[in-house]
């Protein structure tokens, strides 16, 4: 098995084979002595040359996170044979930017109208959760192309509230 794994902007090649009851593992061509078990879902006990690590896995609305101790890494995993996962990596820094709900909540009010110009960091919509009102801000300077948030309705994390272009 071969995977392309991207951590912290750096791509790693990970090769793995199971032979006679143990793992043969190479990271970027270098052999690593690894043993691993999953004691419970989303938790990995990893032994690397005898050093013990407990890794926790979290899938957010947008990213896959792996926690090594107190450090958290966004990880992207690709199978080099899969064309689809390659296409997905096309950059999306430019062009329209979706503003998504960071948490479940209730849309209280809109702070701007469609087609208005906004600055980076300007509040777009107010979402209330746990007795707190929270301004959801624009990630970039631009024009509000579309507002899909409707006051009075509830939203889930990852729901698109507005699009800024």
């Amino acid at each position: 098995m071969v995977y392309e794994i991207i951590v912290g902007g750096q791509s790693h090649r990970f090769e793995l084979e199971r032979s006679s009851g143990r793992w043969e593992c190479r990271l970027d061509g270098k052999t690593v002595n690894v043993d691993a078990v999953i004691p419970r879902p989303d938790v990995l006990s990893l032994l690397i040359d005898g050093r013990a690590y407990e890794i926790k896995r979290e899938q957010t609305a947008t990213d896959l996170h792996l926690w090594v101790g107190k450090a958290c890494f966004a990880v992207e995993l690709r199978d080099p044979r899969s064309l689809r996962s390659r296409q997905k990596s096309a950059g999306d820094e430019k062009g329209p930017k979706k503003i998504v709900a960071p948490m479940p909540g209730r849309v209280v009010r809109l702070l701007v109208a469609e087609k208005s110009e906004v600055e980076a960091g300007q509040g777009i919509v107010v979402v209330e959760a746990m007795k707190m009102q929270n301004e959801i801000k624009s990630p970039k300077k631009g024009v509000v192309k579309k507002i899909s948030a409707v006051p009075g309705t509830t939203v889930n994390p990852g729901d698109v509230l507005a699009i800024v272009e």
Partner: protein, 513 residues
């Protein structure tokens, strides 16, 4: 003794009260709103009844529905917990009228202490030191200006019915007073339906220290030591400890005696807390009385060895306090961290949602009062307090070490929590030196986060490699658990990333081999 107690609350405090009931052989009745059917307090109760939709005003604040459940279930007493109806004198009165015991003070004491101005009038009569100012609402801006001139600027305008920072204004100079008074009055009117605003001298960066008292219905009142509650954000407590690093035995005794006087002046019964503001010269002033069990009561339980909920129940059942003031000894040190569902990396936004993974600390000196479990969907409708982690040890430095160890064992995925904030506080030099006041946390948060810079780039590179290996091993060992399964199933269609999951794809490729 009572046979059955209804707990008119939810979350960790409902679970905590039920534990005490079970220990005492008393049956428990839970009430729950529509979104709380799967909550821990319902799962751990003997009986549970629905009381309405998610908004608290339609469920946990509905006196009629709760008393109806009490009648139907045959409960002989009601424990209100904290928040919701716990300081509502009308509720206490309605319980009495319905023939159910309210575990707490009488409606009369609650009314006396409920309004800050009426509490100040009581204290004036009893000769209790309180922050200089008026003990009645201001009739006009002119009166406010005269009083401010006498006590000296800066002054604080406060709503008599206030709480949580609402209807409160800091005034630095005469020219600001009139407009501040008007806005405080209208905010108080809007928030509490009562526009009464009084004035007191502003104590800049005070400490917030409170004293626990217990009073039975036979005239015995004792104090149980102080709690240091200066670490706050937006007037919300974040971390509390007992004893306070600044209070010595003499000051503790003086505060305790004043607290007992306050309670007696209000004819107080059951558990209560007297809050004090303390200035830099260790002068303390009465601030207000909380007529309920406090969130932070565990630190007092650990340092006195008493169970406050057991004692609340015994007092409400008419028993005498089983000890005298001279029997009470403060031993060791306890610190409580309030685990909130909020995102420290995103301006402490609330973070409700599904808990996909929960690893919890235990071991020596660790107490955990929690209302959550793995797989639970934290509702968006209530306060973000999930659990309290309390460390107890023979002294403060050891309590800090224990908590740091326990925080490293604590892990939650699916929602964000403020766990990392406590690592920051516990490791901070000023905190360790006990240099605390109500401005402490804002100052700490304004500084750069040392944790962000603590990894060298080489260390980070090493950890990235570990993460890469882990990602590969997860994919191989657990291909069936696709990422989307861990997300909130109900929202799956709303999460494009989950639909085109790389994990799922990998799993499929593996299956084809």
């Amino acid at each position: 003794m009572f046979k059955k107690i209804l707990i008119a609350n939810r979350g960790e405090i409902a679970v905590r009260v039920m534990r005490a009931c079970r220990e005492m052989g008393i049956a428990t009745v839970a009430v729950y709103s529509d979104v709380d059917r799967a909550s821990l307090h319902v799962r751990t109760s003997d009986e549970a009844y629905p009381i309405g939709p998610a908004p608290a005003a339609e469920s946990y604040l509905r006196i009629d529905k709760i008393l109806d459940v009490a009648k139907r279930s045959g409960a002989d007493a009601i424990h209100p917990g904290y928040g919701f109806l716990s300081e509502n004198a009308k509720f206490a009165q309605a319980c009495a009228d319905a023939g159910v015991i309210f575990i707490g003070p009488t409606p009369h004491s609650m009314n006396l202490m409920g309004s800050k101005t009426s509490a100040r009038q009581q204290m004036e009569k009893a000769g209790i030191p309180f922050v200089p100012g008026t003990s009645r609402g201001l009739a006009s801006a002119e009166e406010g200006e005269q009083v401010a001139e006498r006590i000296g600027y800066p002054v604080m305008l406060k709503a008599a019915a206030g709480g949580g920072g609402k209807g409160m204004r800091l005034v630095h100079a005469r020219q600001e007073l009139r407009s501040s008074l008007e806005s405080a009055q209208s905010e108080a009117q809007r928030s509490f339906g009562d526009g009464e605003v009084y004035i007191e001298k502003a104590i800049i960066n005070p400490r917030h220290i409170e004293m626990q008292v217990l009073a039975d219905e036979h005239g015995n009142t004792v104090w149980l030591g102080e709690r240091e509650c200066s670490i706050q954000r937006r007037h919300q407590k974040v971390l509390e400890e007992a004893p306070s690093p600044m209070v010595d035995p003499d000051m503790r005794r003086r505060m305790g005696e004043v607290a007992v006087k306050v309670a007696q002046a209000a004819h107080y019964t059951n558990a209560g807390t007297i809050e004090f503001l303390v200035d830099q010269h260790k002068n303390f002033f009465f601030l207000e009385m909380n007529t309920r069990l406090q969130v932070e009561h565990p630190v007092t339980e650990l340092t006195t060895g008493l169970d406050l909920v057991h004692l609340q129940i015994r007092i409400a059942a008419g028993e005498k306090l089983p000890f005298a003031q001279s029997d009470i000894q403060i031993r060791g040190h306890a610190i409580e961290c309030r685990i909130y569902a909020e995102d420290p990396d995103n301006n402490y936004f609330p973070s409700p949602g599904k808990i996909t993974l929960l690893l919890q600390p235990s071991g020596p000196g660790i107490r955990r009062d929690s209302g959550m479990y793995e797989g639970w969907n934290v509702p968006m409708d209530y306060d973000p307090l999930l659990a309290k982690l309390i460390g107890y040890a023979s002294d403060r430095p050891q309590a800090i070490m224990r908590l740091e160890r326990a925080l490293d064992e604590y892990f939650m995925a699916g929602i964000k929590t403020n766990i990392s904030l406590f690592r920051r506080i516990l490791g901070d030099t000023d905190f360790r030196a006990g240099k605390l006041d109500t401005g402490y946390l804002d100052r700490l948060l304004a500084k750069a986060n040392p944790a962000a810079a603590s990894l060298s780039s080489n260390e980070r590179k090493e950890l990235e490699k570990i993460a890469a290996i882990a990602a590969g091993m997860f994919a191989v060992l657990d291909p069936a658990t696709s990422a989307s399964k861990n997300g909130n199933a109900a929202n799956e269609s709303a999460i494009p990333a989950a639909r085109t999951s790389n994990w799922k794809q990998t799993g499929r490729t593996e299956a084809l081999r």
